[in-house]
């Protein structure tokens, strides 16, 4: 790029006008493009505390920006926009607008944890990135990830019956993620299973799928458990 500074201009800061008059002078034409300043005008230092309530980000305040995480990162080698050090810095100063700009990059973390093992201050950058993703989900900035939806289906069944029913979990997950039940791999899986599974087991599976029994003496354990978990979440997030 001939002019380096152009790389620093995000599209949303460009202001173009079809016709523009400044102080009585018509500047339409070549001079009609204005760039809004990129100055950071405030910090939101409370954000660090908010993020630290998410598992994985507890040590984010320890970072001293050495860059070991980014240097060792598997994804950074693929994508120069993938920069854990930078996101940690933004998190510490609460520059959330800047973080949100990278919402479509942060998820690319492959959890190889090289950053975690190399960090001299035990910041655990991989955890920070996971925490950022969860925060963005909670804020509705990004849609719930399939794994979150799966977890919710799984947990809901545990609360209800103290156990999960595989077919039921899959049904719920596919329904909520708007996926077809007739996945080729699933059809193949069922076909082979029905061939090999002893009759007694097949019958029991079928019965369980229909009757959905609870764990013995489950009682109101699920209710208590669910209340406890939501209390814990509340106390971590307020």
């Amino acid at each position: 790029m001939a002019i380096h500074e152009k790389a620093l201009i995000e599209a949303e800061r460009l202001r173009q006008h079809d016709s523009l008059t400044l102080e009585g002078v018509d500047v339409s034409g070549h001079w009609n493009t204005m760039i809004r300043p990129r100055t950071l005008r405030n910090y939101h230092e409370d954000f660090e505390k908010t993020l630290q309530r998410y598992p994985g980000a507890e040590n984010v305040h320890r970072c001293w920006q050495c860059g070991s995480c980014t240097n060792s990162c598997t994804m950074y080698a693929q994508n120069l926009q993938f920069n854990p050090r930078y996101w940690i810095y933004l998190s510490r100063l609460g520059l959330t607008d800047e973080l949100i700009k990278d919402k479509d990059i942060i998820w690319q973390c492959v959890s190889c944890n090289k950053c975690t093992h190399i960090c001299p201050r035990d910041v655990r950058p991989e955890g920070v990135m996971k925490a950022l993703l969860h925060w963005m989900e909670d804020q509705g900035i990004t849609p719930k990830s399939p794994s979150t939806i799966f977890d919710e289906e799984f947990t809901a069944q545990i609360y209800k019956r103290g156990r999960i029913e595989d077919t039921h979990v899959l049904l719920g997950f596919f329904h909520k993620t708007k996926q077809s039940l007739f996945q080729p791999w699933l059809l193949e899986f069922s076909k082979r299973m029905s061939k090999r599974l002893p009759v007694k087991h097949s019958l029991r599976m079928g019965l369980n799928a229909v009757l959905r029994p609870k764990t013995k003496s489950w009682g109101n354990t699920g209710e208590v458990l669910s209340r406890y978990v939501s209390q814990q979440k509340e106390s971590h997030r307020d």
Binding site: P37, T39, L40, R41, Y43, R62, E98, R121
Partner: protein, 348 residues
């Protein structure tokens, strides 16, 4: 005469030198230009010292007490050496009080002068009431309450700017003042202890909390007291229009200009050569190094030496120094002086 050592300056280095001389059975004459002993920690009202965490008044106070109570130390306060002459083993000094001191050796513990922040006008000291120096912040901590001088409110945000009067070719300060990073981290801890709702930001180029100061001050301020370290050299401090201050600069790590509101800005001021050094050099017949500190003699075989035999030095007179190392150097200079006097006496 050969059992007397003249010590000039009664800061940590000079107090330590005088005490070492006297404890070894020699006589010490301590000359201090101010009317109180203790040097910068006492004169500038430091709070808790690095790294001991003891209050300056108590720690340096013990040194002062030892010196004042010692039968073999005579103290001249409010006095300066005006004329100095002679050879090792037989120096003679005339004080501004008119008294004459005969001594076999002389130790210069003449220290430093705090950088005057007015010399960096773009950072607002002297223009805005809420821009203060680390010395003033030390006094505020010692007073037990963190407030903005302009209206007495408790600051929501405090910025500490490092390297004010250090590492700055623009103003001829081509040295690192060594201790400001650690002192600033320590101040950040103390501010947070006194005022938990205040957020402290330290603006740095590098952090030089050397040796054992690393975890005890830098890491502790960050991990336990949530001090935020921002890599930015501030360009300018202006008024925000609503009673706060605006810090302008470039955040090196986000590669973006910043303009952040603050309530209180603290300059981590460096250590200049003592303003008296040109006069001291002339009086004592020694030379200064190119920054204006006392010139060290060849160090490996002549530690604590100056360019004049029989005249020794210690502490911040040589360049920015910590209190602990100044005390150690005071003791070292005392032992050099006494060893050389002992050799002279044996030879004579």
């Amino acid at each position: 005469m050969q059992d007397t050592v003249l010590v000039v300056g009664a800061g940590p280095a000079g107090l330590s030198a005088a005490a070492s001389v006297a404890n070894a059975g020699y006589q010490a004459v301590l000359v201090e230009k101010e009317t109180v002993l203790g040097g910068a920690p006492i004169l500038s009202g430091y709070a808790k010292l690095v790294p001991s965490g003891e209050w300056a008044k108590e720690a340096i106070g013990r040194m002062i007490h030892n010196v004042e109570a010692h039968p073999r130390i005579s103290v001249h306060k409010g006095a300066q050496v005006e004329r100095f002459g002679g050879e090792p083993g037989q120096f003679s000094a005339t004080l501004s009080t008119g008294q004459t001191v005969s001594a076999g050796a002389t130790i210069l513990a003449t220290g430093f002068t705090h950088f005057d922040s007015v010399n960096k006008p773009e950072w607002g000291f002297g223009t805005f009431e809420d821009v203060i120096t680390t010395s003033q912040m030390e006094q505020m901590v010692a007073s037990g309450k963190i407030t903005c001088p302009s209206d007495g409110r408790v600051p929501e945000r405090v910025a500490i700017l490092l390297c004010v009067g250090s590492r700055d070719r623009q103003i001829g300060r081509e040295w690192c003042s060594k201790i400001c990073c650690t002192v600033s981290a320590n101040l950040a801890i103390e501010i947070k202890e006194l005022s938990p709702q205040t957020e402290v930001f330290i603006y740095y180029m590098d952090i030089r909390t050397f040796g054992l100061y690393e975890d005890r001050f830098y890491w502790k301020s960050q991990e336990e007291f949530k001090t935020k370290f921002v890599k930015a050299r501030i360009a300018e401090i202006t008024a925000s229009g609503d009673g706060r201050l605006l810090l302008k600069g470039e955040d090196t790590l986000v590669k973006r200009p910043i303009m952040i509101p603050f309530d209180l800005v603290v300059h981590a001021i460096g250590m200049d050569p003592n303003l008296d050094n040109p006069r001291l050099a002339q009086t004592f017949g020694i030379t200064l190094q190119h920054h204006g500190y006392l010139e060290r003699a060849e160090f490996y075989t002549n530690p604590c030496g100056t360019t004049r035999p029989g005249v020794y030095a210690c502490g911040a007179a040589y360049g920015p120094e910590t209190i602990d190392d100044s005390i150690a150097q005071g003791a070292a200079a005392a032992s050099r002086a006494m060893a050389d006097l002992h050799a002279l006496a044996k030879a004579g």
